[in-house]
């Protein structure tokens, strides 16, 4: 896996090759029942409650911790070129799908060569602080208490004048 963080352009680029056809990889990214099998890094689990894979559509899912704490995420599909590329706007949300802005812009490309499929993802974040938040939520096993602490910390940070 190639993983490049460009702090200047606030972009994270991730590239990985899979030993599978492009059709298969595309399905794994665009079908909720497949996505939920791999999307959440263990021990978290992913639970998609709504998904319509079309431009203007969205995936609404929760990252669930082993303790059952849910962190909701909305991924809006802003562009789709079948089997080749799709773009999403990713943002955290509450359980009623109200977005917590700002979000991040993702660009995912798929290409096949010699029976292997390369996935290239670039994630643009308005702020590194946001990226940090994304990691906290995605990675930590996270009890509600932890999440609350983080919320408070972030609220405190955003109250400070921008310097």
């Amino acid at each position: 896996m190639e993983f490049i963080v460009d702090k200047e352009t606030k972009t994270v680029s991730i590239t990985k090759e899979f030993d599978a056809s492009r059709d298969m990889v595309w399905d794994a990214y665009t079908k909720p029942e497949l996505l939920d099998q791999w999307w959440a890094p263990k021990p978290m689990t992913s639970r998609t409650t709504a998904m319509d894979f079309e431009v203007g559509g969205r995936r609404f899912y929760a990252m669930v911790s082993p303790e059952g704490a849910e962190r909701w995420v909305v991924q809006k599909y802003t562009s789709i070129t079948p089997k080749t590329n799709f773009k999403i706007f990713n943002a955290f949300a509450d359980k009623d799908e109200n977005l917590e802005l700002p979000g991040s812009d993702w660009d995912l490309s798929f290409s096949e060569q010699g029976g292997k499929t390369k996935v290239s993802i670039s994630i643009y974040n308005e702020s590194l602080e946001r990226l940090e938040r994304m990691i906290e939520y995605g990675f930590r096993e996270g009890t509600m208490a932890q999440l609350q602490n983080l919320e408070e910390l972030l609220a405190h940070l955003t109250q400070e004048p921008n310097t």
Binding site: I14, K16, D19, A20, V25, A40, E129, I135, E160
Partner: protein, 108 residues
């Protein structure tokens, strides 16, 4: 006041300051000469970076020099390393899912 390290490096001028003093410790005046902004503005950036403990002051004779806190900079990389791990785990899991899909396809 404790400041957020990522807030500190989100600003382009502060990143430029970090890049400058990463090479060698410098006085505030020498740093300011590299920027079009006022010395006051540069002082403010230096103060924020100091509060974040990304840089520290050192008295050499009559002059104050700023130098980089290498250990603190490593914290940023450690944190980014976590993000890399998320994707590594995620992709490992995807690899497993794809294996099962392939198997099902060949059997079906």
């Amino acid at each position: 006041m404790k400041r957020d390290i990522f807030q500190a490096i989100a600003d382009p001028t502060r990143r430029a300051i970090i890049a400058l003093i990463a090479i060698q410790a410098m006085t505030p005046n020498a740093i300011a000469e590299h920027f079009d902004t006022s010395r006051q503005a540069v002082s403010k950036h230096l103060r924020i970076l100091t509060e974040c403990e990304l840089i520290k002051q050192e008295q050499k004779g009559r002059e104050i020099y700023y130098q980089l806190e290498i250990e603190k900079m490593k914290e940023i990389d450690k944190w980014l390393e976590q993000y890399r791990k998320i994707w590594e785990t995620r992709f490992e899991q995807l690899g497993e899912v794809l294996k099962v899909m392939k198997k099902q396809k060949s059997e079906g």
